[in-house]
Amino acid sequence: MSAQPVPYESPFALRLLHDMLRIRRLEERAAELYGEGKIRGFLHLYIGEEAVAVGALHALAPDDAVVATYREHGHALIQGVPMQAIMAEMFGLQQGCSRGRGGSMHLFDANTRFFGGNAIVAGGLPLTVGLALAERLQGGTRIAVCFFGEGAMAEGAFHEALNLAVFWQLPVLFCCENNLYAMGTALARSQSQTDLCAKAAAYKVATQAVDGMDVVAVHEASRAAVEQVRAGQGPYFLEMQTYRFRAHSMFDPELYRDKAEVEQWKARGPILSYTARLRAQGLLDDAGLVALEAEVEAEVEAAVTYAQAGSLEPVADLCRDVYTPQVSP
């Protein structure tokens, strides 16, 4: 597949690369820190899929609502959650974006309208429909976007959410990240209809399949979809065809796929291919790339330093935030 030229001017063209690198290096560092025991629990890496979050989220307005899955470090980061707050959260600290109550799978941020971090597959979809319904009832123009894997399309929640969103013509962008495996089970080994756009189209939603390894393709498709959704033409379903380079989580021995397959997809890696295109168009040179990498590394190291200097929440506060404190009348 030969990609079209990058159609953006320099600052934005480089910003897409910068943001993909921010996700990549953050997660590579997180994996190391996992090895050192600083991060525990589940850690699901997005490495390989960065073009999806970056391309799609840059198509949104800053106050649109975003709902993601347990593989959401990248979405949180690009939506604007500070990297240091994400790192501190993975460390389980009160400086984390969820005060250490959520961890890697449950990043939240009210400031950027980032509604998690949902670790129930498809669990975030009905929530997104409700956010869009609230917006509609209040007469606003913000849209709601949910990210989910192709595995979620076997869940009832997907079907119920899509039906409601289309039936009520709500401003929802459904972003399916089809990375071909629901944990270790291939799409073709678990779903009768593997054409995901055809499956979604049964609900009379506009659909498009997108090369999710190409940040330009993702961004262009997302922009067009967002425009329609915001204009009140109902929801839109995008199938982002992508691939997870790393294991499902840190516990996954990857017995279900060939190394050759992984290598084939890596050769089409979103950062690799996009960097080559920028270079070919003269938008990036060696010095520029070195500077970009240095900037990202500094941000990641600052985040690690921030987390290392962070503090644990006192155990005495264990039961806070189960209920909302109420002011006595």
Binding site: F115, P126, L133, A134, L137, G156, E160, L164, T324
Partner: protein, 324 residues
């Protein structure tokens, strides 16, 4: 001036008031609009408030309860109606994995001001998929509040404070209560944190809630004639439990019978008795007892359904046993 009404009408008036007072409130659920509500609770509200605020949903409990959570997060005050507690099991994921966890999991950033109403309980020969009393399950969950209005006053009054609550509140309306008739004083304000003594007594604390309150009060009348003065406590709020009111009664009567239409094993009744023993063991003159539904899926045949549930006669018999 009090006016004659029914439990059904009291709930409807509460819904109407909420829709009038707060533009953020809307009602959504299966058949709440055109049909008028499975139990005719929302009859007329669609015509009065329109399709945006009285929303018929598809048969998608998981979907529309989840959407209710999202709408609450988005600044609305949704009232979601689920036809019966049995159907709410299709929405356990959003209720328990999301509504109850979100505030905590987000480090206090997102509260979920959602109200979910549903019918519960047996007595209408609807068999084992429409008759269960599963509210006790929900009381297990930190993050949820659980209400059981058993009187006209509570049916009318609990919804508004539930909507003011910043966290998810589940309201269980026993299906047998909808036709309950009585007088209702206008403008009464009720709370959603306390249990209430519905009948004062000195020999026995009869603790119950929801659909069995009426049976317990009738039993207390009969026991009175038989020389036992029973105090009847209506829990009203199933989570968090109002231990203080329970313990105050137990200190007075020194004998306890809990009547709960839920099953015995792992029940709300078990929780209540445990709390009484933990906090009032030395005040007791007799082992506390509980009368629950028989441990069987509720059967269709009338005589068997009746036999499965706490009834006037079995409450009276159990009371004699505790006081014996």
């Amino acid at each position: 001036m009090s006016t004659p009404t029914t439990y059904r009408e009291a709930v409807r008036e509460a819904l109407r008031e909420a829709l009038q007072r707060d533009p953020r409130v809307f009602l959504m659920g299966e058949d709440v609009g055109r049909y008028g509500g499975t139990y005719a609770v929302s009859k007329g509200l669609l015509e009065e408030f329109g399709e945006q605020r009285v929303r018929d949903t598809p048969l998608s409990e998981l979907g529309f309860v989840g959407a209710g959570i999202g709408a609450a997060l988005g600044g609305m005050r949704p009232i979601v109606e689920v036809m019966t507690v049995n159907f709410s099991l299709l929405a356990l994921d959003p209720l328990i994995n999301t509504a109850a966890t979100l505030r905590h999991m987000s480090g206090g950033q997102f509260s979920v001001p959602l109200v979910v109403r549903m019918a519960t309980g047996a007595g209408r020969q609807l068999a084992a998929q429409h008759s269960h009393s599963l509210e006790g399950w929900y009381t297990h969950i930190p993050g949820l509040k659980v209400l059981a209005p058993a009187t006209l006053e509570d049916a009318r009054g609990m919804l508004w404070p539930a909507l003011q609550d910043p966290d998810p509140v589940l309201i269980f309306e026993h299906a047998q209560l909808y036709n309950l008739e009585g007088e209702l004083e206008p403008g009464q304000v009720v709370d959603i944190h306390s249990a209430r003594v519905r009948r004062a007594g000195s020999d026995l604390s009869l603790i119950t809630y929801g659909g069995t309150l009426g049976k317990a009060l009738a039993a207390a009348e009969q026991l009175d004639a038989e020389g036992i003065s029973a105090e009847v406590i209506d829990l009203r709020v199933l989570r968090p439990l109002d231990d203080a009111t329970l313990l105050a009664s137990v200190r007075k009567t020194r004998r306890v019978l809990v009547v709960d239409e839920g099953w015995r094993s792992g029940s709300l009744a078990a929780e209540i008795i445990t709390r009484i023993i933990e906090q009032g063991f030395f005040e007791l003159d007799a082992p506390p007892m509980r009368l629950c539904s028989a441990e069987v899926p509720i059967p269709y045949a009338k005589h068997l359904e009746d036999a499965a549930l706490p009834q006037l006669a079995s409450i009276v018999a159990a009371a004699h046993q505790v006081c014996g």
